[in-house]
Amino acid sequence: MELIVFYATAAIALVSALVAVSHRNPIVNVLALVVTFFCVAVCYALLGASFLAAAQILVYAGAILVLFLFVVMLLNAPEEQAAGEPRPVQGVAGFALTAVAAIGGVLLLAAVPSAEPASPPDGHVVALGRLLVGPYLFAFELISVLLLAALVGALVLVKRKH
């Protein structure tokens, strides 16, 4: 049952990811990426990471992609010109990366054929919170500084000079 859900989710994620990077209309790109991110959230749920599934939907689908949509519409959705010069080097590099990913996946499959996942630790959200404000407290606080810097930086970048 879980496997069927996983395969369906993976198929939807891959198709919508392909639409997200290949369609010419940027609004379609962003909306297809929302579908991909929802599928990734389903994968987190299948992995037993309920907090991550919620955070994925809240942060990515809820905040980041709304920001993307906002900017696409602010910039009046400039569609790419269909006829630019072809990009052979980038195309070859993309195919090479895909091949490397596929070979790596096959090697992984061969290396850990029957690796049974360890039982997940219980009390997920509580345990995650304890980790965040325990061993990772410094990084957690650094993240808040980073977000503040990004906030101020974005404001400075788009401020009109008078």
Partner: protein, 101 residues
């Protein structure tokens, strides 16, 4: 029956390849940022999969951090795109050559 970790890793690898293809082949700055987001998500999925594989939560903590960094990156990246669009009425990265000597 639990889903094998390798399935998640292969899905993440494919998503990463698709995202990198988008970054390499697209001309619009927004589409390039979308490809970067897809690659970050693929890395996150691998973190979560191996967190379950090892029965530890540290991988999930890292996913949390990556999400926060991705949010910051998107805010600054989109602000840059808006600034660039104001300057030259285009976000086509092939036309961004003002720093070429």
């Amino acid at each position: 029956m639990a889903i094998p970790t390798t399935h998640f890793v292969i899905l993440a690898a494919l998503l990463f390849a698709v995202g990198s293809g988008g970054v390499l082949l697209r001309r619009s700055g927004i589409s390039i940022l979308l490809g970067v987001e897809l690659m970050l998500n693929a890395a996150n999925l691998t973190f979560a999969a191996f967190a379950r594989q090892h029965g530890q939560l540290d991988g999930q903590v890292f996913v949390f951090f990556v999400m926060a960094v991705a949010a910051a990156e998107v805010a600054v990246g989109l602000a840059l795109l808006v600034a660039i669009y104001r300057k030259q009425q285009s976000i086509d990265v092939d036309r961004l050559n003002i720093m070429r000597w």
